[in-house]
Amino acid sequence: MITSKQISSAVSGLCIDANLKLRPDVVKALKDSLRKETSLKSRNLLSILLENCAIAKSEKIPLCQDTGMTVVFAEVGQDARIQGDLTTAINKGVATGYKEGFLRKSIVADPLLRKNTGTNTPAMIYYDIVPGKKLKLTVLPKGFGSENKSKLYMLNPTAGYDAVVNSILKAIKEAGPDACPPYVVGVGIGGDAAKACYLAKKALTKPVTFLSDKAHFRKLAKELLAKGNKLNIGPLGAGGKTTLLGVNILSMATHIAGLPVAVNISCHSLRSAHKNLQSS
């Protein structure tokens, strides 16, 4: 049995951890880009971003003031036994984590009336039913400066490889200096409109060196990295070689009439944390 208390406590810890400790793969990518960057100003900015990570971790100050809309990917083992309401338990964990971690509450209850809920809930929860007895919880606090740069392109099925590359590059150019580059670009290709967007976001939970799980999409991701880093957007828009830290692509089947391409951009402060709970 996995209890509500276990779930809430796990989620609360993940919210705090993700917001204070930058993922090791992202820190490594920042350090690697600092080694490669030749613009003095951009090197200086990348060094400060790394210093920011150190201060956040040691002094327990959130990496960024936008501690995000809390996105939760819940992989629920179909043989797991869960006590109580899972969604309620996750939201309770988010509320506790944001209160105890001194994280910003950035959620309004209604998109037009815009009254803050004061708890950073509701979380955006995506459930997946998977084999087994585990419950895997991944928390991705998503800042909205970068979320606002999300794109969905419903391309023609005959548009082909180049059109996919150009669409994704267009999304990166449109984000420009606004959404805290260097970026990690999550891409979802295929499915329907909703699934493509889901995959683009889920791709951000993979390590920044992931590229893709399929050879032809790894090639695509590498090409995007090379071309994206020539856009001269640079760290925080100051120019230079460092525009992208990573491009991750997830793909799936699609319809004969379409080629959906979704782009979900993350700022350099790509934050996520996960935990497995086991049904005893």
């Binding site: 920011n52 956040a56 100050i61 959130p62 001194f102 910003r104 815009r114 200096p177 606004d178 100051a238």
Partner: protein, 172 residues
């Protein structure tokens, strides 16, 4: 690197060139989407603003809550472009200095040029680092907006890059 006292006088504004880095010290106010919406609404209705914006510096930020014994939480800039719907009006009414991140609209750039204002970018996503440069913080308007309330901050050696100078020259 130049060190600048806030509020910035007209003469100093004119010396700053796009791309130039500087360290700011002194008092400024904060404001983001909802504060801008309210400021613009009040101006259009001919009502008095709750804060003086003439010659003022505004920083686009919604900080995380301060822990006990701390001045402020994480406090990096939010995306400036969302304020572009309101900035030309505020500049016309005397606002001189803006701090945020990313690019601005043609209209905002034109207003900066016309009224000899300045737009600085600071370090997006470095909210923990920047919190160390804030020495006092208090809410001075719209407390009901929570993280979007207008604060008065006093900063010391707050790092910025001149992104749009008073001649309208733009680094992006």
């Amino acid at each position: 690197m130049k060190t600048i006292q806030l509020p910035i006088d007209e003469k100093t504004i004119k010396t700053l060139k796009a791309g130039e880095m500087a360290l700011l010290s002194g008092k400024l106010i904060t404001g983001r989407d909802q504060a801008h919406l309210r400021f613009a609404g009040a101006i259009k209705k001919g009502k008095k603003l709750p804060v003086n914006i003439k010659g003022q510096t505004i920083y686009y930020v919604g900080p995380t809550p301060a822990k006990a014994g701390e001045v402020i939480g994480s406090c990096g800039p939010t995306t400036s472009r969302r304020m572009d719907a309101f900035s030309p009006l505020l500049i016309k009414k005397g606002l001189t200095t803006m701090i945020g991140k990313g690019g601005r609209s043609k209209e905002t750039i034109a207003a900066i040029k016309k009224h000899k204002g300045i737009y600085f970018m600071t370090l997006g996503g470095a909210g923990a680092y920047l919190s160390k440069r804030v020495i006092s913080a208090k809410v001075i308007a719209y407390p009901e907006l929570g993280p979007e309330a207008v604060f008065e901050l006093e900063v010391r050696d707050f790092p910025v890059i001149t992104a749009i100078d008073s001649k309208g020259k733009n680094i992006f």
